[in-house]
Symmetry: C2
Subunit: 465 residues, 2 copies
């Protein structure tokens, strides 16, 4: 697994930049240990590497100013939204300045006629959707955590709705970005489509703050569907559940969400969220459309589920029931962690072509069992993406070694099945070795781009490449 | 407008590379004038700049070999598919070697369960769809011309189906690319989604052969819908038609196609395709879905059209009628050209947020009339994208000047409306000045990427940047 290796620090530069920023930003410049550690903290097993200072920026001009000071002194700059990333993205392995963007949380424009909006990067997805609700609009990308939209763009996030609405790459029209020089660019217009030169929007999405800092985002929006229905169905085996998913996708049923929980995850959800679901593999689905369409789609899925031995099939359009189930799904990370208090969860994130999903999931479960790892599984299975979360006592060296072996084996398995080591979490520090295994010489092209745009390597150093 | 300016030629390098390639490729290496001119020929007003030689490649290894020879001698390399691009993309302003990819036209794999396929770049969209039909699958991107899929990826093409299915950027999973060094990379896996590092797939899509040559493409496919319906409706004014489009999109009717023809274009279609449509602004639509859904959608549109004074509303699911109308739409470029034999068509391609569409279209028509330009209009109006095609006698300097003034004015208007100078044609040589007006300093970032990946500027020099 990737390590949180310390990188050489530019002590003189850091001291000089901190002096200037302290004078300039007053109370918005902080160096207290707890603030610094919180900004280097991640929800993962990866150890914290705190920045030397945190500056709370309130405008693009301020971000540009901070970046210019850091560029002048060749000091690392790390952007921070809500800190919910999972691969050490916000760590500061060479120290430097963290720019906290949470106060840049204005919704600048909602263009209802164009189904788009313009937001600052610190706006969270829940904040945006609360704001949009009365206008009959919503933003569909939902990674579970109440992440910032800047962070979601930076990691090319997706989540439970991606099977229908795509990922961040499909739902961002344009970005404003502060470059490593401090210069500000806009990557595209508000047009729905464009062939105007290189697609800098998509290059920045998923670049994890290594090429610039996103300071404004133009997002595509959707009309709130007339109706939503949720369905759930239990299966005897994970294989049967995956077969049902494959059939559902291949029949072209336009599911908005199709999520798998294995028996361990269902047990964790029952305990954490007070549910009483049968503790066997479970599919949770959601359908969006007209009243008749969501009923038809739920029932079509019911027929498919039956073919694969599904039981306890139920569907509903009642909001309370839907919300309860989906809240439980969103809380799965914490529900899983509660299965073994004190343990660290080592998140995995493979994604394979859907024809290989059942095989990959089954092999992964067998391997975890063989290695004696407690490892609940959930998945955005409509995309072929699933997460196993080995719960590890980090003080037990043998167990850590087995977890490392498992993660490495699983990523290699996914790659051998023409899949990826990361469907949505990103590379950060944790997945760097696997990126090279997956894409080989293409990583050299990424490195060349990084050097061209950020020659002094000040933007989130030690991540991706 | 952008010019086909000649660039300095590396005569010694070109002579050396041609000598090597001639020996190596025998009959697949050609230098006859007509072959060279055909490969520098474009369907536009931009003058032909022929390459020094054309090599017909039959494999990735051959493309890599040709590129390596050219790299060794710092000789330009221009990729060629079907030559249907519109902005001088295949011109050779510094001479060099054209690699014709039309013989790399194998469909390498169709993964029906995964709804994807792998093709060589010379496969055309019609070839692919003919091959897929019996499997119940189709590839939805349809720019009208029977373009090669490599060329469509290179220009980030879209066309009539984009309002529902997106553009090439949304329908390519991965690319194999020969870099300017001759090295071969794969940009991504066959997974539906990935956060594995920089999005090189999207960077290459739309880069117009300036960063590398696409030698293999993994495409997303769609199931052929159970039913398709087509509708047409005439309007008194272009403004009323645009208002109907805006309402249709905002109501969330999932149109697969929604195309506008102004009165001049309808007249041209009547004459060229033997139709007898009323010569007023016309909307052509297509709906994909279940039998009941396509009927419901067509009728919902009928209600909207009525609100905006639409007349002659008709819809059908009969294949012959649908095909006849859409063939006429696809032939519009040639139908328009036939309005003024001997004239050159100067294609425009602006795309604006849909809330500005009616205003932009109306202003553009008024401006063309004011300048005395015959300029039929068609548009993929569901995306806010439309084409006016001033038909110009290139021997009439005053008329050419008026056309230049019109194109410049129209691109500036679209940019001022938060739109783009090119929704789908790309920059090539013709739109270079407008790219800078549209994206400013972002073009410097594109240039930095270009220098990093292609330091000797051998890949399609003189395009985009």
């Amino acid at each position: 697994m990737g390590q949180a290796t310390d990188l050489p620090r530019n002590e003189a530069g850091i001291a000089a930049a901190l002096g200037i920023l302290k004078q300039r930003f007053g109370e918005k410049f902080q160096t207290g240990q707890s603030v610094r550690e919180q900004h280097g903290h991640t929800t993962t097993w990866i150890r914290t590497q705190a920045p030397d200072a945190v500056v709370f920026a309130r405008s693009t001009a301020q971000v540009a100013e901070i970046v210019k000071v850091c560029a002048d002194h060749k000091v690392p700059v790390i952007a921070y939204g809500t800190g919910t990333s999972l691969e050490g993205h916000v760590n500061a392995p060479a120290g430097g300045v963290c720019i906290d963007l949470s106060e840049m949380n204005e919704i600048l424009a909602v263009n209802g006629e164009d189904l788009d909006c313009v937001v600052q990067p610190g706006v969270t997805r829940e904040q945006l959707n609360t704001y949009l609700r009365d206008r009959g609009l919503f933003f569909p990308i939902d990674p579970g955590a109440n992440a910032s939209l800047g962070g979601m763009a930076s990691t090319r996030a997706s989540g439970t709705n991606a099977v229908r609405y795509g990922t961040m790459k499909d739902n961002v029209l344009a970005l404003e970005v502060v470059l490593p020089s401090g210069e500000v660019i806009t990557t595209a217009s508000r047009a729905r489509k464009s062939s105007a030169g290189y697609d800098l929007t998509r290059l920045m999405i998923g670049s994890e703050g290594t090429l610039g800092i996103i300071t404004q985002i133009t997002l595509r929006l959707q009309g709130i569907p007339e109706a939503m229905s949720s369905a759930r169905c239990s299966f005897e085996t994970v294989d049967a559940a995956c077969q049902a998913v494959m059939a559902t996708i291949q029949y072209g049923i336009p599911v908005a969400r199709i999520e798998l929980l294995d028996a361990k995850s269902v047990g964790a959800a029952n305990a954490y969220s007070g549910l009483d679901l049968p503790e066997t593999p479970l599919l949770l689905l959601e359908f969006h459309g007209s009243q008749s369409a969501v009923a038809e789609q739920a029932e079509m899925f019911g027929d498919i589920a039956e073919e694969f031995g599904g039981s306890g099939f139920e569907w509903t359009t009642r909001a309370e029931e839907r919300t309860r189930l989906w809240q439980a799904r969103h809380d799965m990370y914490w529900a899983s962690m509660a299965l073994r208090p004190g343990a660290k969860g080592i998140s995995t994130d493979v994604c394979v072509p859907i024809s290989r999903l059942a095989e990959c999931v089954t092999a992964a479960q067998d391997k975890a069992a063989e290695l004696g790892l407690l490892s609940p599984l959930v998945g955005h299975v409509g995309d072929g993406n699933f997460h196993m979360l080995p719960l590890i006592d980090m003080a037990d060296e043998d167990e850590v070694a087995r977890a490392e072996s498992f993660v490495s084996w699983l990523n290699d398995l996914a790659i051998s099945m023409e899949g990826t080591c990361t469907g949505e979490h990103g590379i950060g520090q944790g997945k760097k070795p696997y990126l090279v295994r997956e894409l080989g010489a293409a990583v050299d092209v990424m490195a060349a781009i990084k050097r061209a745009i950020d020659p002094d390597n000040i933007m989130n150093p030690g991540k991706i490449i």
